[in-house]
Structures are given as structure tokens and as C-alpha cells.
Symmetry: C2
Subunit: 154 residues, 2 copies
């Protein structure tokens, strides 16, 4: 077996710019850390098939959406809205999918995915359907830069 | 083509006990109306493979989660939590899936699904994987009665 690729943090975890909480190894492996919003860490899923953000609420030990404490809820909502609107403004999707599933990765995380009538999975959900198609290095720099600008990060 | 089955409302739409808003025909066809919560209509998905609730926020014309107006948000949250905890208490699931997808039915609706490591779709998402297995009549009466009791409805 080849070892999994090392986590990739576009803005350099080694300089102290990294997630404020521990991420589940699979989230750290599959996602590119973009920054922090009001109540969540923000990742870009490293699958170039779909513009796909992941919010990880800033509290360790959470697994299900209904376990979010009241004090985090307004911030998580603001983050869902902020991330959704950034995807909407940048990509003009036909639909946004918002979901907390967690059947594979137990740490609570919320997917926000820009969907298009012509995308590879439409109209099915994206999870488990096709293997991820990681971004090429140049493309990921462009994508993260556009997203961070739209989100007011960086 | 056989015509789709008529909507089924366990508590009798004809007596005035029915949804306060118009439901998309597919939601009305696939879901059994259980009642109203704080800010949403509550449906039981007529698929006996999974305990599966659907919340439809009480405002027509919404399609995406981030379009929920501020005034509805606290109620929708309370409803997500209330429905989730009822499923958790009744069925002790391994996981709850919470999702607003809408690729097929545009009216904003939020799925809350009790998932089990042994269910038919695990660990995949349930949508589009297997044809629904409608409840037998006796079973649906039991299921709706249990859910309504757990949810304080009826």
C-alpha cells in the first residue's frame, strides 16, 4: 500500500496558520484548509469535480448536527450562509447541497457543495459515487485564492 | 403509466389537519404528513428501510438552505434538533444524517435520517440507491403513532 498523501495546507500550517482544532485524519487528508470563519474551520474538498467546501465546527468531540451547543449555533449558521453565498457568487450553481452525514468520518462536518445540472453526479448526491479528482497544483492555487477572496479570508 | 398514488395524510387532510403550506407534489406523494413543528411541516418519508423524517420550512418559494430568512432560522433549528432527538430516542441509530439537497425536488426540505451500520445503504447516503420500500398499512400506523408521541404531536 502507498501511504496516504500528507495533509496539504495552502497557507502553511508550519507557520502557525492552521486549524484551531484537531481534524480527523481523513478530513485533514481530503481537505485543504482555507481558514477560520465565525465558528468553524473551513476546508476545500480536494475534488475538482465540484466546488465543495467543508465546515468543521470549532468544538472537538461533536459527531451529530443536533449536538451543536446553543452558543455555537448562530456562528455555524452564519458560516453556512457565508460559505454558500461565496459558492453561489463565484460559480452560479444550479443548486447548493448542504449536509452533515458523517457515516464515514465521525467528526461533525458540514458539506456545502455547488451542484450543476451537468456535473458528473447530477442529480445524485456526490458522496461515494466517483473517486475524487484532486486539483492540479496550479488549479488549486487559483481556486483557493478565488475562494479566500470571496470569503474575506487570508 | 400507472398514476402516482394519492397523497396519504394519516391525520386526515380533509378534516383541515394538513400542511399549512403547499408541498411540492413529489414531497406530498413520497411523504406522510405528521404535523407541524415550530417553523416546519413534518413528514415521514414513506420508505420503511430507514426511519426518515423531512422538515419543510413554513415559507413557500424557498429552494436553498442559505435562503432561510433570519426570522425562521431559530425555529428551523429547534425543529432539526427536536426531530433528531425523537429519532435518536426511539431508534438509537448509529448516526443521524441531516441534509438539504434538493437536486430532484426544488422546494427546500431537510432530511433527517436515522442510520444504522447494518442498514441497506450503509455507509453510503440513502438517496437514489434503492427504490423506496413503502410501509405496510399496519406498520405505518404504528410508526406514525410512535413518532407523533415522541414529538409531542397529535
Amino acid at each position: 500500500m502507498t501511504p496516504p498523501p500528507a495533509p496539504f495546507y495552502p497557507f502553511g500550517r508550519s507557520t502557525g496558520h492552521g486549524p484551531d482544532i484537531d481534524l480527523h485524519p481523513q478530513l485533514a487528508r481530503d481537505g485543504l484548509w482555507l481558514g477560520r470563519l465565525s465558528a468553524c474551520q473551513l476546508l476545500l474538498m480536494n475534488d475538482s469535480r465540484y466546488p465543495w467546501l467543508i465546515l468543521v465546527p470549532n468544538q472537538e468531540g461533536l459527531t451529530d448536527f443536533d449536538q451543536l451547543p446553543e452558543r455555537l449555533m448562530p456562528g455555524v449558521h452564519e458560516d453556512i450562509r457565508h460559505a454558500s453565498q461565496a459558492l453561489r457568487n463565484l460559480f452560479q450553481p444550479d443548486k447548493l447541497n448542504v449536509a452533515a452525514l458523517g457515516n464515514v468520518v465521525p467528526q461533525l462536518h458540514i458539506h456545502i457543495i455547488a451542484r450543476f445540472c451537468q456535473d458528473a453526479a447530477w442529480p445524485k448526491p456526490v458522496w461515494g459515487l466517483l473517486p475524487p479528482l484532486p486539483y492540479a497544483e496550479k488549479r488549486v492555487q487559483e481556486q483557493t485564492a478565488r475562494l479566500c477572496a470571496a470569503l474575506g479570508l487570508g
